[in-house]
Symmetry: C2
Subunit: 372 residues, 2 copies
């Protein structure tokens, strides 16, 4: 429990949910001492699990699965039934918001997400609107149902793509190899670029707040493509808008804290600045040295990451060794520091499910040996 003196001088209390059976993840996000390092994996409910593939096949398409709260709940729970994970994450896609804006999200087999009606002219861009959140009720229904099914086992993470990352997909559909379309707009028509980003910012904040209302206990912004931006452009076109999203998103609900995580893939060079935008934790990819990042900014925010998903293709001994290096690199789980173990990117669909068992158990085993 953390005491906060509000600006009005009124002493308010905000809590980590006392009804949770395992609050390790939320405690680590708030940089409080934990018995072990909590662990969850990006895309933990995914194609590497045969039971996921079975449900996905039954649903017919990725979006049919994501839009069916029963099935979304079922696949969200699958990795928790197999592994001793410390958090659940809503099964959904980062691009639901532009889909609700009317752009028509779809997936082609073996390719990334695309839009049927990408933004390819000035008129469409200027007419873009924050979508009615009712169009996303399937997401909020799933959140509520997952919370009910979890029944306090571990906390549930809600999420969205960052304003910039959504824009990468919205402009001319699937992003090109060199981001030529969107970067041409950024350098040549920054006014149009900023217009899209302002709409996205309001939409993403409303979307995360609705997930929190529905039961999400922490929220994460996936800035998957922030790392393709130049220094300077990153700050103006991605970071500043994420700061604004965080300003608009609730940090507590009924006196219970709702921590936030921001993850810019490829953003290791900017962690000093990312640590200042108001998130409780920042996600790190595998290029970042965990010990150095902790020394640099570990007292300001918690750190989440950052094993290379490809390390899961090693032998069990090799996986355990990599986990040990990572836990050692972060160091003691002292008060004022927080580490949430994760991969540096989503788990590969080709991962052996057994390797995930080895990983999760090794995180718990080695971190218990490193006194908090």
């Amino acid at each position: 429990m953390t005491g906060i003196l509000s600006p009005l001088g009124k002493f308010t209390m905000s809590f980590i949910d006392p009804l949770l059976q395992n609050d390790t993840f939320l405690r680590a996000l708030k940089r409080r001492r934990t018995e072990h390092t909590p662990v969850w994996l990006m895309r933990q409910a995914g194609r590497y699990l045969p039971e996921y593939r079975a449900v996905r096949k039954k649903a017919g398409s990725f979006m049919a699965l994501a839009k069916n709260p029963d099935l979304a709940t079922e696949v969200t729970m699958q990795p928790l039934d197999r592994y001793d994970l410390d958090a659940a994450i809503l099964f959904s896609d980062i691009l639901t918001v532009p889909d609700a804006m009317g752009l028509g999200l779809y997936f082609e087999e073996g390719e990334g997400p695309k839009f049927e009606r990408p933004l390819d002219n000035e008129k469409d861009i200027l007419e873009l609107q924050v979508p009615d959140m009712n169009k996303l009720h399937y997401v909020f229904d799933a959140v509520t149902q997952i919370r009910k099914t979890l029944n306090g086992r571990v906390p549930l993470i809600g999420f969205s793509g960052s304003p910039w990352t959504l824009a990468c997909y919205m402009v001319k559909g699937a992003s090109s190899k060199d981001y030529r379309t969107i970067k041409s707009m950024l350098y040549h028509r920054p006014d149009l670029m900023n217009h899209i980003l302002r709409i996205n910012t309001v939409a993403v904040a409303a979307y995360l707040n609705a997930q929190i209302d529905a039961g999400a206990q922490a929220v994460m912004l996936f800035d998957s493509w922030g790392g393709v931006l130049a220094d300077g452009a990153y700050q103006s076109f991605s970071l500043d808008y994420m700061r604004e999203v965080l300003r608009l998103v609730k940090t507590e609900k009924n006196g219970i804290q709702i921590p936030s995580i921001v993850f810019t893939k490829g953003g290791g060079i900017w962690i000093d600045e990312i640590a200042d935008i108001g998130a409780d934790a920042i996600g790190l990819d595998w290029t970042v040295n965990l010990g150095r990042a902790r020394a640099q900014i570990g007292h300001k925010v918690a750190l989440q990451g950052n094993l290379d998903p490809m390390a899961l293709f090693g032998s069990p001994e090799q996986i355990r060794h990599q986990v040990q290096l990572s836990i050692k690199s972060f160091g003691q789980r002292a008060e004022g520091y927080g580490h949430i173990f994760n991969l540096g990117h989503g788990i590969s669909q080709f991962t052996d499910p057994e390797s995930v068992s080895v990983l999760v158990d090794a995180v718990h085993e080695f971190s218990r040996l490193t006194p908090g």
Copy 2:
């Protein structure tokens, strides 16, 4: 002219080539004062130039062009005839060395380079040999011919892919999106990975030395894929081998200095360590803040970079503004610091050749206004 007291106590002199009409690039590499900031562009002889496309068509294929010293000389000279560039770079490919090892380099239209006989089994890996440099005589012939044609106008840069980057292509041919094949080997069979890298290291050093013998006046290592490695793995599997290459490569020829540049794309987070491996300059991609990089390591090595190639899709005024920001960010060209203006990656084939004129002239104009 720089005086060096050799370990034997003998006072030796090493020079920047006194016969060069424009030695700005070499002086900046050696962190000496220059009248203006020198500029060249990665892939400056390339598809964005109509005169290049004409020669490429005549040659029939990329490799036919690269293997013909007359044509390679012709396209190397093309951008120098159009723009006021301060250096020429050999027209070739980063993968000529594994091609000479017998792997069969080829290019498919619209795709990256591939090998006909990639390394996909242990036997082939263990039988890998440093190639006979005679198989690469077409490269050295081109170097000699380009030097002759340049006739002292500007210096000529030789280059190679880094040991790790070559390996990325050699193992199972074209690299997969998530580098699964090569990273699986790295995590699961580091012995095989290191075997390939040791061979590549010796081969790359011999290759660069032969380019120097043929007339290259500076050399550059392109570590295009170092940035996909995890912290720790980068140091062991890319950086350490580049350090060894640099140890084996000549730093002068007939008393004339041969400076070296190392460029790890996506390596901005590791510039402290890259600055320590013995190169004269490090290449930076656009994610790096030039001013901060200079403050961090600018007294140890020169810096080369780092405009986003996509900035060339802005208007002339916007391009000039980006150049100005960059020149200002680096600051004064004081003794002990060196900046070579470049892009943060190869120029896009869709660039308007006029935009390159604007860029090159703006670099010279603005840097002359910033006293050295």
